[in-house]
Protein backbone atom coordinates (compact mmCIF):
# COMPACT_ATOMS: atom_id res chain seq x y z
CA UNK A 1 0.00 0.00 0.00
CA UNK A 2 2.76 2.42 0.81
CA UNK A 3 4.11 4.09 -2.26
CA UNK A 4 7.86 4.68 -2.21
CA UNK A 5 8.05 8.47 -2.14
CA UNK A 6 11.42 8.34 -3.92
CA UNK A 7 9.63 7.04 -7.03
CA UNK A 8 7.26 10.01 -6.97
CA UNK A 9 10.04 12.61 -6.76
CA UNK A 10 10.79 14.46 -9.99
CA UNK A 11 14.10 15.60 -8.54
CA UNK A 12 16.16 15.56 -5.37
CA UNK A 13 18.67 18.25 -4.43
CA UNK A 14 20.57 18.05 -1.16
CA UNK A 15 22.39 20.62 0.95
CA UNK A 16 21.51 23.43 -1.45
CA UNK A 17 22.19 27.09 -0.75
CA UNK A 18 19.35 29.61 -0.88
CA UNK A 19 19.68 33.27 0.14
CA UNK A 20 16.01 33.65 1.11
CA UNK A 21 12.61 31.95 0.89
CA UNK A 22 12.05 33.03 -2.69
CA UNK A 23 15.34 31.45 -3.73
CA UNK A 24 14.44 28.29 -1.82
CA UNK A 25 11.10 28.03 -3.64
CA UNK A 26 12.89 28.72 -6.95
CA UNK A 27 15.10 25.67 -6.30
CA UNK A 28 12.03 23.53 -5.67
CA UNK A 29 10.44 24.98 -8.82
CA UNK A 30 13.56 24.30 -10.88
CA UNK A 31 13.41 20.69 -9.70
CA UNK A 32 9.83 20.36 -10.93
CA UNK A 33 10.80 21.92 -14.28
CA UNK A 34 13.85 19.65 -14.62
CA UNK A 35 11.66 16.63 -14.01
CA UNK A 36 9.23 17.75 -16.70
CA UNK A 37 6.43 18.24 -14.16
CA UNK A 38 5.86 21.96 -14.70
CA UNK A 39 6.97 25.01 -16.68
CA UNK A 40 8.85 27.97 -15.17
CA UNK A 41 5.55 29.82 -14.76
CA UNK A 42 4.55 27.42 -11.99
CA UNK A 43 7.59 28.49 -9.96
CA UNK A 44 6.32 32.06 -10.06
CA UNK A 45 2.86 30.85 -9.10
CA UNK A 46 4.27 29.11 -6.01
CA UNK A 47 5.99 32.35 -4.96
CA UNK A 48 2.80 34.35 -5.65
CA UNK A 49 0.88 31.93 -3.40
CA UNK A 50 3.11 32.80 -0.44
CA UNK A 51 2.95 36.51 -1.23
CA UNK A 52 -0.84 36.30 -1.28
CA UNK A 53 -1.55 33.93 1.61
CA UNK A 54 1.56 34.28 3.77
CA UNK A 55 4.08 31.65 4.85
CA UNK A 56 1.46 29.07 5.77
CA UNK A 57 3.21 26.52 3.53
CA UNK A 58 5.66 25.94 6.39
CA UNK A 59 3.45 23.18 7.72
CA UNK A 60 5.74 21.60 10.28
CA UNK A 61 8.96 22.65 12.01
CA UNK A 62 11.56 23.12 9.27
CA UNK A 63 9.37 21.89 6.42
CA UNK A 64 7.85 24.00 3.63
CA UNK A 65 5.43 22.52 1.12
CA UNK A 66 5.75 24.91 -1.80
CA UNK A 67 2.81 24.65 -4.18
CA UNK A 68 0.19 26.49 -6.14
CA UNK A 69 -3.08 25.39 -7.64
CA UNK A 70 -3.59 23.27 -10.77
CA UNK A 71 -2.87 25.51 -13.80
CA UNK A 72 -1.71 25.35 -17.42
CA UNK A 73 1.86 25.57 -16.04
CA UNK A 74 1.42 22.08 -14.57
CA UNK A 75 2.41 19.59 -17.29
CA UNK A 76 2.28 16.24 -15.53
CA UNK A 77 2.38 17.15 -11.87
CA UNK A 78 5.07 16.00 -9.51
CA UNK A 79 7.08 16.49 -6.40
CA UNK A 80 10.56 17.93 -5.90
CA UNK A 81 12.81 17.68 -2.87
CA UNK A 82 15.31 20.37 -1.78
CA UNK A 83 17.20 20.18 1.49
CA UNK A 84 19.04 23.34 2.49
CA UNK A 85 22.59 23.52 3.87
CA UNK A 86 21.67 26.70 5.74
CA UNK A 87 18.13 27.03 7.11
CA UNK A 88 16.05 29.86 5.64
CA UNK A 89 13.42 32.05 7.34
CA UNK A 90 10.01 32.03 5.66
CA UNK A 91 8.38 34.30 8.25
CA UNK A 92 6.36 31.51 9.85
CA UNK A 93 6.29 32.09 13.61
CA UNK A 94 5.71 28.50 14.66
CA UNK A 95 7.86 26.53 12.24
CA UNK A 96 10.81 28.64 11.00
CA UNK A 97 13.57 28.18 9.93
CA UNK A 98 13.12 25.86 6.97
CA UNK A 99 15.59 23.11 6.10
CA UNK A 100 13.45 21.11 3.69
CA UNK A 101 11.42 22.50 0.80
CA UNK A 102 9.10 20.16 -1.05
CA UNK A 103 7.69 21.45 -4.32
CA UNK A 104 4.27 20.08 -5.23
CA UNK A 105 2.40 20.38 -8.51
CA UNK A 106 -0.86 18.64 -9.27
CA UNK A 107 -3.01 18.43 -12.39
CA UNK A 108 -6.22 18.32 -10.37
CA UNK A 109 -7.44 17.90 -6.83
CA UNK A 110 -7.47 14.10 -6.75
CA UNK A 111 -4.64 12.81 -8.94
CA UNK A 112 -1.95 13.12 -6.33
CA UNK A 113 -3.70 11.75 -3.25
CA UNK A 114 -1.66 8.57 -3.09
CA UNK A 115 1.54 10.60 -3.28
CA UNK A 116 0.25 12.92 -0.56
CA UNK A 117 -0.53 9.97 1.69
CA UNK A 118 3.01 8.73 1.21
CA UNK A 119 4.40 12.23 1.84
CA UNK A 120 2.32 12.56 5.02
CA UNK A 121 3.76 9.26 6.23
CA UNK A 122 7.32 10.43 5.65
CA UNK A 123 6.89 13.90 7.16
CA UNK A 124 5.26 12.55 10.31
CA UNK A 125 8.12 10.11 10.91
CA UNK A 126 10.45 12.08 13.20
CA UNK A 127 13.46 9.74 13.20
CA UNK A 128 13.33 9.39 9.41
CA UNK A 129 13.07 13.16 8.96
CA UNK A 130 16.22 13.63 11.04
CA UNK A 131 18.08 11.32 8.65
CA UNK A 132 16.53 12.93 5.58
CA UNK A 133 17.44 16.54 6.36
CA UNK A 134 21.10 15.68 6.97
CA UNK A 135 21.39 13.39 3.93
CA UNK A 136 24.31 14.57 1.80
CA UNK A 137 23.29 13.04 -1.53
CA UNK A 138 20.15 12.23 -3.49
CA UNK A 139 21.04 8.54 -3.20
CA UNK A 140 21.02 8.82 0.59
CA UNK A 141 17.56 10.42 0.46
CA UNK A 142 16.34 7.65 -1.85
CA UNK A 143 17.79 5.00 0.46
CA UNK A 144 15.96 6.39 3.52
CA UNK A 145 12.70 6.73 1.59
CA UNK A 146 13.11 3.20 0.25
CA UNK A 147 13.61 1.87 3.80
CA UNK A 148 10.47 3.68 4.93
CA UNK A 149 8.37 2.27 2.10
CA UNK A 150 9.70 -1.22 2.79
CA UNK A 151 8.94 -0.89 6.51
CA UNK A 152 5.40 0.32 5.79
CA UNK A 153 4.66 -2.36 3.20
Amino acid sequence: MALNLAEALSSIETQAEAADWRAAIRLAGAGLVAGGATTDAYTDEMIDAVEKHGPYIVIAPGVALAHSRPSPAVLTGGLSWVSLATPVEFGNKANDPVTLVIGLAAKDHDAHLQVMRSLAGVLSDGPAMKRLVVAKTADEVRAVLGDLAAAAA
Binding site: I57, V63, S68, S124
Partner: protein
Protein backbone atom coordinates in the same frame (compact mmCIF):
# COMPACT_ATOMS: atom_id res chain seq x y z
CA UNK B 1 -19.97 16.53 12.33
CA UNK B 2 -18.55 18.50 9.45
CA UNK B 3 -14.96 19.69 9.54
CA UNK B 4 -13.20 21.74 6.88
CA UNK B 5 -9.41 21.70 6.46
CA UNK B 6 -8.41 24.94 4.77
CA UNK B 7 -5.37 25.99 2.78
CA UNK B 8 -4.70 28.63 0.17
CA UNK B 9 -4.81 26.29 -2.81
CA UNK B 10 -6.80 23.27 -1.70
CA UNK B 11 -4.33 20.72 -3.05
CA UNK B 12 -1.43 20.57 -0.63
CA UNK B 13 -1.51 21.53 2.99
CA UNK B 14 -5.26 21.09 3.43
CA UNK B 15 -5.05 17.58 1.99
CA UNK B 16 -2.29 16.65 4.43
CA UNK B 17 -4.23 18.23 7.28
CA UNK B 18 -7.38 16.33 6.28
CA UNK B 19 -5.47 13.03 6.27
CA UNK B 20 -4.01 13.59 9.70
CA UNK B 21 -7.29 14.90 11.13
CA UNK B 22 -9.04 11.76 9.89
CA UNK B 23 -6.43 9.60 11.62
CA UNK B 24 -7.01 11.47 14.88
CA UNK B 25 -10.81 11.38 14.59
CA UNK B 26 -10.79 7.64 13.94
CA UNK B 27 -8.65 7.14 17.03
CA UNK B 28 -10.97 9.31 19.12
CA UNK B 29 -13.97 7.45 17.74
CA UNK B 30 -15.54 10.68 16.45
CA UNK B 31 -17.73 10.34 13.40
CA UNK B 32 -16.91 13.32 11.19
CA UNK B 33 -16.72 14.28 7.58
CA UNK B 34 -13.49 16.14 6.79
CA UNK B 35 -13.32 18.19 3.63
CA UNK B 36 -10.17 19.81 2.18
CA UNK B 37 -10.86 23.21 0.70
CA UNK B 38 -9.13 26.25 -0.68
CA UNK B 39 -9.79 29.67 0.75
CA UNK B 40 -12.60 30.51 -1.69
CA UNK B 41 -14.49 27.26 -1.15
CA UNK B 42 -13.78 27.39 2.57
CA UNK B 43 -15.56 30.69 3.13
CA UNK B 44 -18.73 28.99 1.90
CA UNK B 45 -18.09 25.62 3.50
CA UNK B 46 -17.26 27.19 6.85
CA UNK B 47 -20.82 28.51 7.05
CA UNK B 48 -22.17 24.99 7.52
CA UNK B 49 -19.20 23.27 9.17
CA UNK B 50 -18.78 23.00 12.91
CA UNK B 51 -15.01 23.10 12.89
CA UNK B 52 -12.40 24.67 10.62
CA UNK B 53 -8.80 23.46 10.78
CA UNK B 54 -6.14 25.75 9.38
CA UNK B 55 -2.88 27.59 10.00
CA UNK B 56 -2.51 30.87 11.81
CA UNK B 57 -1.91 32.95 8.66
CA UNK B 58 -4.96 31.54 6.92
CA UNK B 59 -7.20 31.88 9.97
CA UNK B 60 -6.63 35.62 9.78
CA UNK B 61 -7.43 35.63 6.08
CA UNK B 62 -10.57 33.54 6.57
CA UNK B 63 -11.96 36.08 9.00
CA UNK B 64 -15.15 35.60 10.99
CA UNK B 65 -17.07 32.39 10.32
CA UNK B 66 -19.74 30.65 12.42
CA UNK B 67 -17.58 27.53 12.73
CA UNK B 68 -15.04 27.12 15.49
CA UNK B 69 -11.64 27.84 13.95
CA UNK B 70 -8.79 25.68 15.24
CA UNK B 71 -5.23 26.75 14.42
CA UNK B 72 -2.77 23.92 13.86
CA UNK B 73 0.93 24.82 13.99
CA UNK B 74 2.49 21.47 13.11
CA UNK B 75 0.32 19.60 10.62
CA UNK B 76 2.18 16.37 11.39
CA UNK B 77 1.96 16.50 15.14
CA UNK B 78 -0.92 14.12 15.76
CA UNK B 79 -0.77 14.97 19.45
CA UNK B 80 -1.36 18.64 18.76
CA UNK B 81 -4.28 17.82 16.45
CA UNK B 82 -5.70 15.36 18.99
CA UNK B 83 -5.47 17.85 21.85
CA UNK B 84 -7.08 20.70 19.93
CA UNK B 85 -9.82 18.61 18.35
CA UNK B 86 -10.68 16.99 21.68
CA UNK B 87 -10.96 20.39 23.33
CA UNK B 88 -13.17 21.64 20.49
CA UNK B 89 -15.67 18.77 20.47
CA UNK B 90 -16.11 18.67 24.21
Amino acid sequence: MKIVAVCGMGIGTSVLLKMNAEKVLAKLGIDADVEAADMGVARGAAQTAEIVLTSEELAEELGDVPAEVIIINNFFDLEEITEKLTAAVE
